[in-house]
Symmetry: C2
Subunit: 207 residues, 2 copies
C-alpha cells in the first residue's frame, strides 16, 4: 500500500476505464477477477493494472485476485467522492439539453443541480432541471459547487471568467474555442472534431 504517494496523471486517466469495465463485469455476474483476465478485457497490461490499483491500497488477495464489487465500491468512493457533487450546466442548447437528459448522473458522481443560459426562451424547467438566466449565476449556484459543464457557443471566454470568479474549479469544456483559465482551475476539453482529427491522423499514420 502506497496510498499516501502521489497518483500519476496517466493512472488517473485509467481509473474511469477500470470502473466502466468492472461495472460491466459485475452485470455479467462476475464476482472475482484476476489482473490477467481484466487485462484482456480493457487492453491494459496486468502489471500496469496492479500498479494502478496499488495506489488505492492493497485491494486484492494473493493467489486469488480481486473482488469485483469491492473494487467498484473503492473506485466509486475515490472517483465520485460521496456522490453528492453538485454540477451545473452552462448553455442550454441542443447539447446542454442532451446532457440534462443524461440518465446516468444519479449515484455516480452527483447530480446536475441546475443550468444557465443567456437566451430567455431556453429558460424554465427542462427535464426536471431548472434553467436560469446567466445573470443569476451567483445567486442560483448551489453551495460548494465546483464543477461546470460548458456548452455555450458565444462569449465563451467571458463565461469562463464568470465561472472562475464564482469559484468553479473544474470545467468540462464542450466549446469549439480555446479557453484560458488561471492556475488551480482544471479544464477537460471535449471536442468531437478534435477526436475525429486524432482518429484520422492515427489511422493515416498507421499505414
Amino acid at each position: 500500500m502506497k496510498s499516501n504517494k502521489h497518483v500519476p496523471k496517466a493512472t488517473l486517466q485509467r481509473y474511469p476505464v477500470y470502473l466502466k469495465a468492472l461495472r460491466k463485469l459485475s452485470n455479467l455476474g462476475v464476482q472475482r477477477i484476476m489482473s490477467r483476465e481484466l487485462s484482456e478485457f480493457v487492453d491494459i497490461e496486468p502489471t500496469t493494472i496492479r500498479r494502478d490499483f496499488s495506489f488505492l491500497g492493497s485491494l486484492g488477495k494473493q493467489g486469488y485476485g480481486y473482488e469485483v464489487n469491492k473494487l467498484i465500491e473503492i473506485f466509486n468512493g475515490e472517483l465520485g467522492g460521496n456522490f453528492d457533487e453538485k454540477i451545473i450546466i452552462v448553455g442550454a442548447g441542443n447539447l446542454g439539453r442532451a446532457l440534462m437528459n443524461y440518465n446516468r448522473w444519479n449515484h455516480v458522481v452527483g447530480e446536475i443541480a441546475c443550468a444557465f443560459d443567456v437566451m430567455p426562451h431556453k429558460q424554465g424547467n427542462m427535464y426536471e432541471i431548472p434553467v436560469y438566466p446567466i445573470e443569476l449565476l451567483k445567486e442560483k449556484m448551489p453551495p460548494g459547487c465546483r464543477i461546470a459543464i460548458l456548452t455555450v457557443s458565444k462569449d465563451v471566454q467571458e463565461t469562463v471568467n464568470l465561472l472562475v470568479e464564482n469559484g468553479i474549479k473544474g470545467i468540462v469544456d464542450f466549446t469549439h474555442e480555446h479557453i484560458q483559465v488561471p492556475k488551480g482551475v482544471r479544464v477537460k476539453p471535449v471536442d468531437v472534431v478534435s477526436m475525429v482529427q486524432e482518429l484520422v491522423f492515427e489511422t493515416n499514420s498507421l499505414k
Copy 2:
C-alpha cells in the same frame, strides 16, 4: 526536419490544442508567433511546442518565429487530411441530433454523411442529414467511411461489432458502457461522467 520519424502519442494529442489556439490567434489578427508566446497561451512548455512542431517539418524561421496561418494550414492538412472524411453517426437520440446540428464540421475534417438509428420514428431527414434504419448500414454507408460517432444507449457491443465488420477503423464513443474492439480499431471514449470523475478526483487530491 524529422517528419519520417514516428510521432509520439503524447504529441498527437496536443495537435488539436495547438490548432484550436492558432485559430483563435488568427481571428485576433495575430500573424506571427514565437514558441514562448504560444506557450503562455496554451500552457505547454516552449520546448515541447517546438519539438511537437518539428515532427511536421521545419515550420518556423530562426530568429523570427512561426507564421500563424502557415501553421494552421499545415495542421489542417495533417489532421484533417483533405477535409473529405465521411463520418457517420450511429444513434439519433438527443445527443446524436445535437452532434448533427454541430456547426463546425464543414471544412475542418470532413462532414457527417448520414446517421443510423434503430427507432423508426427517429429516421428520416434531420437537420439536412439523412437518418437510416440500422439494418441499411452496409448499404448506405458512404464508400471509404472509416470514422463513426457512437451515441446509442442499447445493444452497444452488438452495434460496435456491426460497425467493425463494415470497415470502421475509428470510433468516437459516447456510450456509457465498456466496449471491446479488435486490434487495429481505435476508440476514443467521450464520457462526461468520467470527465467529471477525473475532475473531482484531481481537485480532491490537489488539497
